[in-house]
């Protein structure tokens, strides 16, 4: 009986040449269900950082879309990711966020699964006759797992391209964060989780390319962290958007602003000392990108702020709600004192109590809830900032736009979203940029 006509071609929810996006993609349940099928059951997603499960039988539970999964460290050092649902009656087999265990035993009937996801034993197994069950056939469904420089990813799609191909040239940018020195990165212990009553894409698009909001939304938070001085006026020079298959990094090249937001002078000093080494390793350009006013999203739902060091996923919980999981990422080789200063500064700015973060959730909930209104929902949203600023850049791979105050990465994110929503197979998913590093290392 619904008179709401939904589009069968998802690219019709936007016109990226005119620069608008249809509000319904932030509201309609049917579209959300399609996202679970077409994006979260297909794309590679961030699961955990290696440092969260250093030892054999360490595990961490999370979600891919709304599918609960367990990631567990194997004896050989690899990681398996499998569904968190018993193959007998379906109950969750693990109710903990993390820990260390030999088995996941279902509370209902006592079916026990190893940390490799295989069905190992049944309680009162003698109630089964011979031939009733072949345990080797009733293990937990496994995802494909791969990792990039400490970040563990998984996908349930056997047909998906390799992780390296999925990340593509974005690896060149990721190295700025993950490969600054020999030691690589680690997460500070624990993590913060909270619910926001907003569509998950508002979190991702904010980090993929919305430097613009920072100047207004975060004026109060920035002043708090910066001796009562606000952001300098928006300077469109020397800053960029870069997008590769929906992954996006918006950044300046002044090297300072995001580190300054931590409000920890000793961290600024640390990076100043480290920068020449970073330049040796990553080149001058990438050493200047790090620490600048910047934000990053990996398609579909993982984000971080280089310099501030918050790292997070946006887990969908229905069309109007997501769970945010946050950590602090640091370099393993940093002195403990620097790690702690970053932890304190990062947490003071970016968590539900953070002086910057507090103002974001409020906006995204408003962005979402207004679409209850049928008239409101029929409107479009403007995504046209900097629409003619596309450039070719000698050093910077991807689709590059001049100035970080720009909607370019957001437009590319929604283009990728529509590409995946429409695709019947991965062959139909276009690569919208010209890769420079296909099959090559990026450091």
């Amino acid at each position: 009986m619904s008179n709401r006509k939904l589009e069968s071609d998802y690219s019709r929810y936007m016109d990226l040449k005119e620069g608008w996006v249809d509000r319904r993609i932030f509201w309609e349940r049917e579209i959300y269900e399609q996202e679970l099928e077409q994006i979260f059951a297909k794309a590679w997603q961030f699961i955990a950082h290696d440092s969260m499960m250093p030892n054999t039988n360490d595990f961490y539970t999370t979600y891919m879309g709304e599918d609960g999964v367990i990631a567990a460290r194997q004896k050989d050092g690899s990681v398996k990711v499998f569904l968190n649902s018993c193959t007998h009656r379906g109950n969750k087999i693990c109710y903990a966020d993390d820990g260390n265990t030999r088995n996941f035993t279902c509370n209902y009937h006592g079916w026990a699964f190893g940390t490799d996801g295989e069905l190992k034993g049944l309680s009162n197994e003698h109630v089964y006759d011979e031939g009733d069950i072949d345990k080797s056939q009733w293990g937990l469904q496994q995802a494909r797992v791969d990792s990039y420089k400490g970040l563990i990813f998984a996908t349930f799609d056997e047909e998906a391209p390799s992780l390296e191909e999925f990340l593509g040239d974005f690896r060149w940018y990721l190295d700025i964060m993950l490969d600054q020195d020999d030691g690589g990165t680690e997460f500070i212990g624990g993590g913060i989780k909270n619910y926001i009553n907003a569509n998950w894409k508002f979190g991702v698009e904010n980090f993929v390319g919305d430097a613009y909001h920072a100047l207004w939304t975060h004026d109060s938070g920035f002043k708090a962290m910066n001796n009562n001085e606000g952001f300098p006026p928006a300077d469109p020079t020397g800053s960029y958007h870069a997008s590769m298959n929906g992954h996006g990094w918006e950044f300046g090249t002044e090297g300072l602003a995001d580190i300054a937001i931590l409000g920890q002078p000793k961290v600024l000093e640390y990076y100043e000392k480290m920068r020449p080494k970073m330049a040796e390793r990553l080149g001058e350009m990438r050493s200047k990108i790090f620490g600048s006013l910047a934000s990053v999203s990996l398609f579909p739902n993982c984000s971080f702020l280089p310099g501030i060091q918050t790292f997070r996923v946006w887990l969908p919980r229905g069309p109007h709600k997501f769970e945010m999981r946050m950590w602090t990422i640091v370099n393993k080789n940093m002195p403990d004192e620097i790690k702690q200063a970053i932890n304190i500064g990062c947490m003071q700015t970016f968590n539900p109590a953070g002086v910057l973060e507090m103002d974001d959730g409020e906006n995204w909930e408003g962005n979402t809830s207004v679409n209850k209104g049928v008239v409101t929902r029929k409107g479009k949203l403007h995504y046209g900032c900097g629409i003619n600023r596309r450039i070719e850049h000698e050093e910077l791979p991807g689709i590059v736009y001049a100035s970080q105050f720009n909607d370019a990465n957001q437009r590319q994110f929604y283009e990728r979203w529509a590409d995946l929503m429409n695709a019947k197979s991965w062959d139909q998913v276009p690569t919208r940029y010209t890769p420079r590093y296909a099959g090559k290392k990026t450091v």
Binding site: S220, N228, M358, E362
Partner: protein
């Protein structure tokens, strides 16, 4: 941390209990009224205001959070002052219109310590927050405080808050627990 019953020599006098209760109620009133500068005067210079992360773990895997882990709050005086500055900028959009909050402090227990000027105080704080048109949130924290008498006046020197939620169920924590 002491658990269970306490021996007689740690029992606080009614007078002290009353003084501590009045201290905590006054603190709650300052929070409800957004009198944050007044609140800061109730804290010692070496305040540690800490609300660690919360994870759900199996009993066999339980571990105490440390100050080197992630935390909602892990603040010294300088950090707290920065938070207050944010609310004074005039551009703190999410606080305008203002949040309506009620801090209900209960289950107050006062224990003496080895230092005659320091008291360990347990309490439960329930914060009701009402914002925007009709949004209501409830947050509940188990607090362990160290309250110190400085020049005859009680001040909060340490606070550890254990949130009674695994996933923090709200978009923001713009109230102090």
């Amino acid at each position: 941390m002491t658990k269970g019953t306490t021996s007689n020599n740690t029992v606080a006098s009614l007078e002290l209990i009353n003084e501590v209760q009045q201290f905590l109620y006054r603190e709650a009133r300052h929070h409800d009224n957004e009198e944050f500068r007044e609140w800061l005067t109730m804290l010692t210079e070496d305040i540690h205001y800490w609300m660690p992360y919360r994870y759900q773990r199996y009993r066999k895997n339980e571990k105490e959070p440390t100050i080197y882990d992630t935390a909602y709050y892990n603040d010294d005086m300088e950090c707290l002052v920065k938070r207050i500055i944010r609310t004074e900028t005039g551009t703190c959009w999410s606080e305008d219109p203002a949040t309506r909050s009620a801090h209900v402090v209960t289950n107050i227990e006062v224990e003496l310590t080895d230092n005659p000027d320091e008291f360990r105080v347990y309490s439960l704080v329930t914060v009701h927050r009402n914002i925007n048109e009709d949004e209501e949130h409830t947050m509940l924290g188990h607090r362990t405080d160290l309250i110190r008498r400085v020049d005859g006046v009680l001040k909060l020197a340490k606070r550890k808050i254990i949130l009674d939620q695994n996933i923090f169920k709200n978009k923001s924590l713009n109230v102090y627990l």
